[in-house]
């Protein structure tokens, strides 16, 4: 059952001198309920733009995106998003940030607090409720961002290179935690990343995009279900790594500099 349908979507930016830049060129993709899909590709392939369009932040130049058969026109709490540089509200505490979406929904204070606290505990930040973001490490800030997103109970999680700004250790830890969260809640996740290995480790399907203009080059099934063991995951990741790396390298080699 398709949850997200990306139907003939293009994104074209007007440039000076009456030229245009085609960031994304007629992309078609369907994502089913509960799937974990990664999108990888070289810089400039439009993967983030595609994600932003699913989120409703950026309009499609042509084609449309449908979520549950309803066309996407603007952002909403049903599609939560997390960004590479966290985008936490620096003037609000951890609690203030996590509660934010609940406040917008008009939920009463006591219940809001409880819900927010539960998510803060879930991302292992208990005790930091009244801390401001600028005192937290990158990894901690990203956890807050994740908690903030989850508190609204979205059915779709959009993650825009969420671990790109973190060091290798933290990245590894958070990858495992995301996988755990997904196994627990089985939400639909669309995950954009540079990191081939990360994509293989986390997802069931990996979409490889080419750049300039952005198109889907190939889609690869990792064949790993939500209950796969660590060993199976590691082995599959190693197998697919070579295949995918070639794709990415070939894509990069095929790029010609913008005239």
């Amino acid at each position: 059952m398709a949850l997200i349908e990306i139907d003939g979507v293009s994104k074209i930016y007007p440039l000076e001198n009456n030229r245009e830049l085609t960031a994304i060129d007629r992309v078609n993709l369907t994502i089913g309920d509960g799937e974990f899909v990664s999108i990888i590709g070289p810089s400039g392939c439009g993967k983030s733009t595609l994600l932003h369009m699913i989120g409703g932040f950026v309009p499609c130049s042509s084609g449309e995106i449908r979520v549950r058969d309803v066309k996407v026109t603007s952002p909403g709490p049903d599609r939560g998003i997390v960004f590479q540089h966290f985008a936490l509200f620096p003037w609000k505490t951890v609690l203030g940030n996590v509660e934010y979406g609940l406040v917008e929904r008009g939920i009463a204070k006591a219940e809001r607090r409880r819900t927010a606290q539960a998510f803060i505990d879930m991302v292992k930040l208990s005790g930091f409720e009244n801390t401001f973001p600028n005192r937290l490490s990158g990894g901690m800030q990203q956890r807050v961002a994740i908690a903030r997103m989850l508190a609204c109970e979205p059915s779709i999680l959009l993650m825009d290179e969420p671990f790109g700004a973190l060091d290798a250790q933290t990245r590894k830890i958070l990858q495992e935690e995301i996988r755990e969260l997904w196994q627990r809640f089985r939400k639909t996740v669309v995950f954009v990343t540079h990191d081939v290995r990360e994509a293989v480790y986390l997802s069931q399907r990996v979409v490889v995009m080419s750049a300039r203009p952005g198109r889907i080059k190939t889609i690869i099934e990792t064949g790993l279900g939500p209950d796969a063991s660590r060993a199976a995951i590691d082995q599959k990741a190693d197998e697919l790594w070579d295949l995918l790396r070639d794709e990415v390298v070939r894509t990069i080699a095929e790029e010609r500099p913008v005239a």
Partner: protein
């Protein structure tokens, strides 16, 4: 494949040009219309055409250019003085702890106070002519310049310094070869803040002493109830200010051609 090229109509460019200047034109047109049709009191708001006429006359008889030049000259000299003294003081502050300890509180206090309040004292000391005005301009401008210079010279990226030391630069030459060039953007930033101040203060001091210069021109116009002259003076001052800003931006671009920020920031 490179970004596709589609011929878009030229009208987009034209439309943007109109968008960017429409409200100015609208204001000017409204000005002329509302005054000509008597909506606004012609004394308080003389028609644009009258103002331009009066301005034209005073340009041709040399009055406005003379005053604009006087104001500009004053501002320029005062600013130049402030720049030399300010940069020198700022660098001294970063080189000598003693100088710094003496000057830092002075700069800190001098920054927020309305230095124009000292004008009567300056007039007492320096008379009503050019000297007091130029001194006041210099006095007002020197503070942000000292501050920016000090900041720039003390926060030079230490990796610059280490690289230079590593390549054999002696401590003294280090200053000239590395610190000053590295601090240049900050210094020029401070100069950029002080520059408009020079013109503001020049105009004010001229209004206070009622002599020559655009400030004097305008205040006399008010006293003699010549409203078209007031507006003509205002426009002349606007253009003088514009000239000032453009020449500064030009100089800055030339000096900082190697720096990433050599493009004049929007709204500078």
């Amino acid at each position: 494949m490179a970004g596709t090229m589609k011929p878009k109509s030229q009208f987009r460019w034209l439309r943007r040009g109109i968008e960017r200047n429409a409200s100015i034109v609208v204001v000017l047109v409204l000005w002329e219309l509302t005054t000509r049709t008597g909506v606004f009191n012609n004394f308080l708001l003389p028609p644009l055409s009258n103002v331009l006429w009066r301005g034209g006359i005073d340009i041709l008889n040399g009055e406005l250019p003379r005053h604009a030049f006087a104001t500009g000259m004053r501002a320029f000299i005062g600013f130049g003085l402030a720049a030399i003294v300010g940069v020198a003081a700022g660098t001294l502050m970063s080189m000598s702890g003693a100088v710094r300890r003496i000057m830092e509180p002075l700069v800190s206090v001098a920054f927020p106070i309305p230095k124009i309040a000292f004008m009567p004292i300056f007039i007492l000391w320096f008379g009503l002519d050019d000297l007091s005005k130029t001194m006041m301009i210099a006095f007002t401008c020197v503070v942000p310049i000292v501050s920016a210079t000090f900041l720039g010279t003390t926060t030079v990226d230490r990796y610059f310094l280490w690289s230079a030391r590593n390549l054999g630069t002696s401590r003294l030459r280090l200053f000239w070869k590395v610190v000053i060039p590295a601090a240049a953007p900050q210094i020029i930033s401070g100069l950029q803040v002080a520059f408009p101040l020079a013109l503001i203060i020049a105009v004010v001091t001229e209004m206070l002493t009622g002599g020559d210069g655009l400030g004097g021109y305008m205040i006399r116009a008010v006293r003699f109830a010549q409203s078209d002259k007031v507006f003509a003076g205002l426009l002349a001052t606007l253009f003088t200010g514009l000239f000032f800003i453009q020449s500064f931006a030009f100089l800055r671009a030339k000096l900082l051609v190697w720096h990433a920020e050599s493009v004049v920031p929007a709204g500078a």
